[in-house]
């Protein structure tokens, strides 16, 4: 049994996990998920990209939750189903990236503008072991007790 990312090459693990995007070597534009082939900046003709770790911190653009079990290919992790939260996060690189919200946090913990950081948690477990995913965890604001 092993603990591996549910999808290869989208994020790093370890102490400071991060999303991995593509940086165009000519115009510098950042893309997530990674792209190959042609740069999507219409003014750029590059076909060369380098892998780039995106910022681990960002601010919440918006947020919601899934009160009902999503249909397949979502894989349920509990029976009965337990809702989880989702958020869209603005990164300093100028893009907004979706993600589930870290275990133990819900919409009540979030606002537009809330500071969050990227963590890696188990999405589901299959015959090969734990499959992990990136998630966003609210960062305790100054003067606010970290109560979790």
């Amino acid at each position: 049994m092993s603990t591996v990312p549910v999808i290869e090459g989208w994020f790093t693990t370890g102490d400071s996990p991060a999303l991995v995007g593509s940086g165009c070597t000519m115009c510098g534009t950042v893309f997530f998920p990674k792209i190959a082939g042609f740069c999507r900046n219409p003014a750029c003709s590059s076909t060369e990209f380098e892998d780039l770790a995106l910022s681990r911190h960002g601010t919440v653009w918006s947020y919601t939750d899934a009160r009902y079990q999503p249909p397949p290919p979502y894989i349920p992790v509990s029976d009965p189903y337990e809702p989880f939260a989702l958020c869209a996060v603005e990164l300093p690189e100028g893009l907004v990236v979706l993600g589930q919200v870290a275990d133990g946090y819900g919409v009540a913990d979030l606002h537009v503008g809330t500071q969050v950081e990227l963590v890696v948690e188990t999405l589901y477990t299959d015959e090969s072991g734990d499959r992990t995913i990136w998630r966003w965890r609210p960062v305790a604001e100054l003067g606010e007790e970290a109560d979790r």
Binding site: T29, V30, S62, T64, R67, P70, G94, L95, V97, L98
Partner: protein, 396 residues
């Protein structure tokens, strides 16, 4: 040169969950539209079908499927797919051939048979398909995207769950008199707020269902309409099927992220703002001239976004427009007098055409029980997956 074409006939098969083959709905709608136009099927020289992706090969080649079902008549054929904008793209294809003189009488048809529940991706393991991956990696359904936009309105503009509910109440009231609507029942704010939360802050009654249905339009050259003795037919003045401009900085189905504005600044207009803008520009008509609008209320909150995106008010002012009653029947600029998706549910390849059907009835003064008095100009707007969206401007 005028870019106008004439809407000679419109027709629909009532929306519902009928469980019949989509071809039946399409053919029904086509026959109603042909009868409405007084055009014989044999006169149609172009059939454009809106593709449905959930009904097998016949759905992929919808134009030919409808043509065969109506009885092969040798007409030219095309099939369009553009997600929610499918019908408008099909209409645009018909218009282009008419304006170029290659066709004169076009029949545009869209119909769908839909599954129950959330719209889910096709089966199979597809690790390179974002529409599949968003469910596997995030459990991100369509209503979850709608909820992100709704929550942002609340945090940024002070929208409330009651505001969203009032959109449903308004549309339900308008749809009561629409014989093609699936849901014809008055709804109260309490009904909406006491329905289950699907994706915070959206309740079940804030979110549109998926429906079966069919819509068709007979589109002709202005010259053909004149030869038929029609002096003031409803005209298509503009059709927008614009794609986004890089960088697209608003998160959209089925994507995991937006483009980055780190190197190229965000464009002057968001994608949704650019959709109707292009139609206004093409038609030489301003938002102030609009008598009514049919917009894609996939959720109640999204209808408020559209007020701003189609230029009825400035960003952040939609709630005030709603609270004033400006967008209700009898208001300054009624929105979704048909009852909207709230009363129809979404039948993807038919929906953009259904919007045009409603505007046509309104401009002819035939929208019994939901008529916008003195309607002269109507605009439609919608947006779908993968960079698709459309807006059609019509006038008498």
């Amino acid at each position: 040169m005028s870019h106008d074409v004439a809407v000679l006939g419109v027709g629909m098969h009532p929306w519902g969950k009928w469980g019949r083959p989509f071809v039946e709905y399409g053919v029904h709608a086509a026959r109603v539209a042909l009868a409405d136009a007084g055009v014989d099927w044999a006169e149609v020289d172009l059939v454009v079908g809106g593709e449905t992706v959930r009904n097998g090969y016949g759905g992929y080649v919808a134009g030919a499927t409808f043509a065969q079902a109506l009885g092969w008549n040798g007409a030219r054929v095309a099939t369009s797919y553009a997600a929610c904008a499918t019908g408008a793209q099909a209409l645009d294809t018909a218009r282009a051939r008419i304006l170029s003189g290659l066709s004169e009488v076009a029949l545009v048809v869209g119909a769908d048979t839909t599954p129950k529940g959330f719209l889910a991706p096709n089966a199979g393991e597809r690790w390179d398909d974002p529409d599949w991956l968003r469910f596997r990696l995030l459990g991100m359904t369509n209503p979850a995207y709608f909820a992100l936009y709704a929550r942002r309105r609340m945090d940024l503009y002070g929208a409330t769950a009651e505001d969203f509910a009032r959109v449903k109440v308004k549309n339900a009231a308008a749809g009561l008199a629409n014989p093609n609507a699936r849901y014809r029942k008055a709804v109260s704010v309490e009904d909406v707020l006491s329905s289950a939360v699907v994706a915070d802050p959206l309740h079940l009654l804030d979110i549109c269902a998926t429906s079966d249905g069919g819509a068709a339009i007979v589109l002709t050259s202005m010259e053909y309409a004149r030869r038929r003795g029609l002096t003031g037919p409803v005209r298509v003045r503009g059709i927008s099927t614009v794609t986004p401009t890089f960088p697209q900085t608003v998160i959209e189905m089925p994507n995991f992220a937006t483009d980055s504005s780190g190197t190229v600044p965000a464009p002057e207009r968001t994608f949704k703002e650019s959709i109707a803008h292009a139609a206004y520009e093409e038609a030489g008509i301003a938002p102030e001239d609009v008598s009514l609008a049919e917009v894609y209320d996939l959720s109640t909150a999204l209808e408020l976004d559209w007020y701003e995106d189609i230029g009825l008010c400035k960003p952040g002012e939609a709630e005030q427009l709603l609270r004033n009653g400006d967008t209700a029947l009898g208001g300054r600029v009624p929105v979704n007098p048909s009852g909207g998706l709230a009363c129809f549910g979404e039948a993807v390849p038919a929906q953009a055409l259904a919007q045009v059907c409603e505007v046509t009835w309104q401009l002819r003064g035939q929208a019994e029980g939901r008529q916008v008095e003195g309607a002269r100009v109507g605009v439609t707007a919608n947006q779908g997956l993968f960079g698709h969206g459309s807006s059609v401007l019509l006038s008498v």
